[in-house]
Symmetry: C2
Subunit: 478 residues, 2 copies
């Protein structure tokens, strides 16, 4: 993320230009509407057309991904104006590129016929990606327009849930038999107008369609044409299954530097392939989702969504937060007598809770990451507990000492300083133990530790920090 | 991230097996050491060898990336034991795959000769990646062993800072002239044993080395051999410059679905290429770094780093947090009289600060993301302020009402409930305004809004929330 703010300067210029044109357009509209008289309509339509034509010229040469970006950056009204100017043949591709939230606004603006036309421009695996957002009648219409083979592919693609290899898969692979010569293959390829995108290798299958191996396209160029395929084909570094998690495919691509990989079913038959561009998109989307869910947003939010929609998107997290805040508040409530007697406690208690929450979150971050990478075994878990407890002990001494001195300097009460130091050390210990334990337990229970672990540790360090500090103070000071 | 916990089951099995063997090894060692007598050495060496040989057999067929993963997952002592068993020819590749923190531990364990041997197995661009971690003498030795052309490449690769295209670049491209026929190209390629990895296209240059266009390898297969290169070559979708931010290259690969892209200097000369596998690694690493820095860890931490090293890695964030906590504590200190008179304030104040902090972080997450994607213009910034203020008003009514009722139910004091509701609404408004303003101002000042914005909003909502709530209470209740 760290440099994204400098990126896409060219694109920002296009965006700037589009916005200017749209503003000019709106300005003219408002001027024209103030004039009355017979020339009104004529003036309006001429100025409009000139502006819109310029806008269209600007959009024409842009890549669908770039247009998608511009659409996402515009408030809804202007977005739909631009959307109407985009050549209909590109609708499908652009719909694939925009975020789910923005796609919704675009689709709501299109009629059934336009949607069917947009979907029909796409490959079956792409139609499957759009399908959840399309009205049922549109899907039925599209389905009817497909060949039997394509229908089978669409059914296949729709049958796998999001986040599986099946959902990333496409059917654009070239499969060949292993008993022919390279020359035959070369002749066969030459008959095609062009090879599918990302064809870095051909997929070798036997007579029954069972996957046998891979033949790199580059090998075709350097191999004696009389060789048979069987002699030069290679085993697959990764052989994916459609029901596998998409994340596993992403890992395989990352580790083994793949451009494409075969997808086989349980019988070993080749049913599709995954390509690196899909994987890159998947990784980016996952990253985005992680960022959003870390912020407590349940899904991607259209930047220009209505207030009401945004409120709903965010309310779950706030509600959870409210409950944990109420609990922490009741913990403090238990010690109201102590606070009434020594009001300094009220000012000092957020320090203990805040710093141990911070430290606990650092531990969680490391453990969640290590779990995600599969790096934690039963033996190493014990070592991690020991290490984090060690870190919290050192931090407890250092930071506990600092806050103790702070408390003494402000309130000139050395007992208060000592209680503060002790509370800090104990809270950091609690944070360390829970920071390791929470993700491990969540993992053991089959939950994703990346989601919710941070809320839990904060809830525990808040209530725990208040309890430890006020409890110690009640015992030793009040 | 969300499914990574299910991944790499095969790899986990290898890891489990390695750990078991290492434990057996340690067990035998401790048993043997307890025995005394002449047979001691013999027994030890036989059992050792059997164990280590089995371990080596296990490691042999693994991909360097998989071995890197096992090394990262082992405590330092066992890690070095496994590292010694890895065939020396693979050292270089494995060093490239491990994280920086783990690489440090491995390099510290190798002597100069081993390091030179490891580096010499690598391409110049890969040597450049390792260089920051290698002792100066090793680099000089390696440099001497290179050909003049390779030295030039290494110098070039070392001259670009991390996070630039120059650092991602390699020199493994095949460049061709545009005035020859496809047949000549095919004959030329056939003389090579194999093409470099990720050669999806050949780079067309003129006589002086100036980049002219691209010829897709797949086109070679379907084009009439008598055609000249100039007739079938295509312009580059993205032409990178070595000093560009790496993030821009990653975006180009994502948007235009690239497998490789040319890197040209200011004179237009082709100097290298970037391939998709490097880009995937870069994206993954960036994601990791974002996650770590969001948790306040200044760099990647070896899971089994020493306590002291970990403390240093984490201390900056805790120190910053301490300062903001002290400030919040002093804000509360201003109102100690009010709290002494109405102690319920102490129990209720963290609710206001906590929920507005949460809400502010949600806003920040959205704005930082939109800024990163370049989606915010001057006009849309105004709309975003309006939207977030609207959201905070709705949330203020809803959540403010809930906490007001909560306060009333606990303390049976309706004025306290009303103050609570008002404070909640005002704090949420503050959070919304600052949540939009902080990232925009940071961006304007040329800072990365992804780093630090979250700490700032939390500091503001903490101190601000306490001030608003205690202030209102002092004015209306006490």
């Amino acid at each position: 993320m760290s440099e994204r703010d400098e990126i896409r300067s060219e694109l920002r210029e296009s965006l700037q230009r589009v916005t200017e044109l749209l503003q000019k357009h709106e300005l003219v509209e408002s001027l024209v509407h103030r004039q009355e008289g017979p020339r009104h309509d004529l003036v309006e339509s001429i100025v409009h057309k000139a502006n819109l034509a310029e806008l269209q010229r600007l959009l024409e040469p842009l890549h669908p991904a770039d247009i998608a970006d511009i659409l996402e950056s515009l408030p809804v009204k202007q977005r739909l104006m631009v959307w109407d100017l985009v050549k209909a043949e590109r609708d499908g591709e652009i719909l694939l590129e925009v975020t789910d939230a923005v796609r919704e606004t675009l689709i709501a603006h299109m009629d059934e016929q336009e949607l069917v036309a947009a979907a029909e421009q796409l490959d079956t695996d792409e139609i499957a990606d759009l399908a959840p957002d399309l009205p049922r009648e549109v899907i039925q219409d599209v389905f009817r327009s497909l060949s039997p083979e394509e229908r089978e592919q669409l059914r296949e693609a729709l049958s796998y849930p999001e986040d599986t290899v099946g959902a990333l898969m496409d059917f654009d692979m070239i499969s060949i038999r292993d008993d022919v010569t390279i020359e035959v293959i070369l002749r066969y390829l030459r008959r095609l107008d062009e090879l599918p995108d990302h064809t870095d290798q051909l997929f070798v299958v036997d007579r029954t369609g069972v996957f046998k191996g891979l033949l790199a396209v580059n090998r075709l160029l350097v191999t004696d044409p009389d060789t048979t395929v069987a002699d030069v084909m290679q085993p697959a570094a990764a052989r994916l299954r459609p029901q596998q998690k998409a994340q596993e495919a992403a890992n395989a691509f990352e580790r083994y530097d793949l451009v494409s990989a075969p997808v086989v079913d349980d019988a070993g038959e080749l049913i599709g392939r995954v390509t690196v561009n899909t994987v890159v998109d998947y990784i980016r989307e996952e990253t985005d989702n992680d960022m959003l869910s870390a912020g407590g947003l349940s899904e991607d939010e259209d930047l220009f969504a209505s207030v009401w929609k945004s409120v709903r998107n965010r309310w779950t997290w706030l509600a959870v937060n409210l409950v944990t805040a109420f609990i922490a508040s009741r913990v403090i409530g238990l010690f109201e007598d102590s606070i009434a007697r020594l009001v300094a406690l009220a000012a000092l208690m957020p320090i203990v809770a805040g710093i141990s929450g911070n430290s606990g979150n650092q531990t969680i971050t490391l453990i969640v990451r290590a779990l995600a990478l599969g790096q934690i075994t039963a033996t190493s878990a014990r070592k991690l507990f020991a290490k984090e407890i060690g870190v919290s002990a050192v931090n407890g001494l250092i930071w506990g000492g600092v806050v103790g001195i702070f408390a003494y300097l402000i309130y000139r009460n050395w007992q208060l300083g000592i209680v503060m130091t002790g509370a800090m050390a104990l809270s950091l210990l609690l944070a360390a133990v829970m920071g390791v334990a929470i993700p491990l337990v969540m993992q053991r229970l089959g939950r994703d530790p990346a989601i919710g672990a941070s809320v839990m540790i904060t809830a525990i360090t808040d209530s725990g920090g208040f309890f430890i500090f006020l409890g110690l103070a009640t015992v030793f000071l009040v």
